[in-house]
């Protein structure tokens, strides 16, 4: 039978405190398991109280923990902290437990999957800068992934934080800046292609610009045609446009 008792905070073992995001409901007592010491398994935020009502339940620690904190309800880093409390965190991801709590909380809020956080392993000296900027700029989950990957590559190329920090308050701008820094050759070649296309005399009502999608650069041509005659004119005039092969092979 579960027993409800009162303890002072220091009489309880808080080793399983994995800092869950959700606060334990105030109407419920702290839950604990007695496996030699009285281990709290839910209601961790109440450790600051002097006296605490504790319901000691039967069952082994892991089973009770898993029953109270369903994996599907936890965010990625929360899962990692949870598994770590039970001694099951994979070695390869333990470094994530050293991220500043504010950063952990931000990444969980955006639900960034753990595998996308692997680049952080190489960014430890920049943790504080990254935390500050991510919290301020509030990038989306996919932007966070992109930013971390780019920052990791740049750090491994011995770039400094001063070179990598954002210049504006828009996360999309930061992604673009880092992409350019990470890929100087492509950036130069795309710029040349774009400038070349601007120098071409395109027929009236035709707009052309250089676009990149992944590994392929291409010309996006837009034409406004409102009658068959204009279409004929478009076909004739577009044939006269000269675009060098080198545009694609810079």
């Amino acid at each position: 039978m579960p027993i409800l008792s009162t303890y002072s905070s220091h009489e309880l073992d808080w080793i399983c405190d994995f800092k869950p995001r959700k606060v334990w409901p105030k109407v419920l007592p702290v839950i604990a398991v007695n496996d030699g010491s009285i281990k709290v398994v839910a209601g961790f935020e109440r450790r600051v109280f002097e006296t605490i009502s504790v319901l000691i339940v039967e069952g082994d620690l892991e089973t009770v923990m898993r029953a109270l904190h369903m994996a599907g309800d936890l965010r990625p880093l929360e899962v990692l902290r949870f598994e770590n409390a039970l001694g099951h965190a994979p070695n390869t991801l333990r470094f994530l437990l050293t991220l500043p709590p504010e950063l952990q909380s931000f990444l969980d809020e955006k639900q960034v999957p753990l595998k996308a956080l692997r680049p952080l392993e190489y960014l430890e000296p920049w943790f504080n800068h990254i935390t500050e900027k991510l919290v301020k700029l509030q990038p989306s989950s996919s932007q966070v992934r992109e930013l971390l990957d780019l920052l990791c590559d740049l750090k491994m190329q011995n770039r400094t934080w001063a070179e990598c920090e954002p210049r504006s308050d828009l996360p999309s701008d930061w992604c673009v800046e880092l992409f350019k820094l990470r890929n100087p050759n492509l950036t130069r070649s795309d710029l040349n292609s774009a400038q070349f296309l601007e120098s071409v005399s395109w027929p009236k009502n035709v707009r052309a610009k250089w676009e990149r999608q992944g590994d392929q650069g291409s010309i996006n041509i837009q034409a406004r045609i409102s009658n068959p005659k204009e279409f004929q004119n478009f076909k004739t005039s577009i044939q006269k446009v000269e675009v060098k092969d080198e545009l694609w092979n810079r």
Partner: protein
């Protein structure tokens, strides 16, 4: 001239399944004293659910497990989504490699914490017998170097000799040994039907030194290719993956020079070109194992339609055109083709698709139906 010595693999752990303890391969491996052989009733390490860490992957190269392969050996090359298919079939006689190339795709593919050699090659050959009966008119090309290098473990298995012998009786089919080693000694003096192609995956000296760790030097690979040719074996080259560096043109110019100075166009069965590519998920393991200095990681790669990271298509086309041009300048008959590239790349480099390119079109013809 230095002899073509190929070192035995260095092992920390060796496991042999009960059922194959007395198999030909196991007896041979035990006699080589590479590590203390442990007899096991089941696979000693389970496959991981996700990708191995860099450390686990490196460790898996030092643990060898000998066991039977239970499934099918022979299957169509998975190729890559959207790429032109060259009708290649693979016969996997093991998994993992004791060499250590920075760009190796096995890093994204293997989730086994140990290397494995399948001891039941006779079952593989029976499977080939059956297939050759079902498809009597299909000139299959069968490669043994997809999930394992064809020759690096040959001193442990002597499979090259068995395969040469089997293919001697099946002259319509072609076998390809694909390697970065120079380990040709176990089959080079055998009688053969000229249908075992010894192919070497090559790159310029600089790339071999910086990216293809623990492989045979380029000079040794080329010497092994010369010896293979001199013994009547057709030879082929895979310049794949081409790796971009600031001085890539000079590097690949020198490589083409070396190959063409040693081999006439009619002495080479094919030369395939491909550029660096890998799935994005491989970046983590690359970072862990090779750091930021490897050209495989430092290069500018972007997501392509098939989900792999590749160089910009314009740069790839330029690199392919350059190498192809250098071969063709020396002799237009060098049979060069692109591997795992989409039709866009073919059109960029050949101005047509592979089935219309002279010298290599037969590699890309659809195969006949089974009887």
């Amino acid at each position: 001239m230095e002899p073509l010595i190929w070192p035995l693999p260095k092992l920390d752990e060796l496991y042999i399944h009960n059922d194959v303890w007395d198999s030909e391969v196991a007896i041979r491996v035990r006699s080589l004293n590479l590590a203390e052989a442990v007899k096991v009733a089941e696979r000693p390490y389970k496959n991981q659910e996700g990708q191995l860490s860099g450390r686990e992957f490196t460790h898996s190269k030092k643990r060898l497990y000998l066991a039977k392969h239970e499934g099918h050996f022979f299957r169509k090359c998975p190729g890559t989504q959207g790429a032109a298919c060259c009708n290649y079939f693979v016969l996997n006689l093991g998994v993992q490699c004791n060499m250590n190339c920075s760009y190796c795709y096995l890093q994204s593919y293997i989730n086994s914490p140990l290397s494995q050699i399948y001891t039941n090659i006779d079952d593989a050959l029976s499977e080939l017998d059956e297939i050759s009966l079902r498809y009597p008119t299909s000139p299959f090309r069968v490669g043994t170097g997809e999930t394992i290098d064809s020759l690096t473990f040959d001193d442990l298995t002597l499979y090259s000799a068995k395969l040469v012998e089997w293919f001697r009786g099946h002259p319509k089919l072609t076998c390809e040994f694909k390697t970065k080693s120079c380990n040709i000694k176990n089959f080079i003096n055998l009688k053969h039907s000229g249908n075992v192609v010894v192919s070497f995956s090559v790159n310029p000296h600089k790339i071999v030194e910086t990216e293809e760790h623990e492989t045979a030097s380029l000079s040794r690979r080329l010497r092994a290719a010369q010896e293979s040719r001199d013994h009547g074996f057709p030879v082929a080259f895979h310049i794949d993956p081409m790796i971009y560096t600031e001085d890539w043109k000079k590097n690949y110019f020198d490589l083409v020079n070396e190959i063409t100075s040693l081999f006439k166009s009619n002495e080479v069965r094919w030369i395939s070109l491909g550029a660096l590519r890998y799935p994005p998920s491989m970046k983590n393991i690359l970072r862990e194992r090779f750091g930021g200095s490897t050209s495989s990681l430092a290069g500018e790669l972007f997501l392509s339609d098939d989900g792999k990271l590749r160089y910009d298509l314009g740069l790839r086309t330029k690199m392919f055109n350059f190498v192809m041009g250098e071969f063709k300048k020396r002799d237009p008959k060098y049979p060069v083709f692109l591997c795992m590239e989409a039709p866009e790349s073919w059109l960029g480099s050949f101005e047509t698709t592979p089935r219309n390119v002279e010298n290599i079109s037969n590699l890309f013809k659809p195969l006949a139906a089974p009887v």
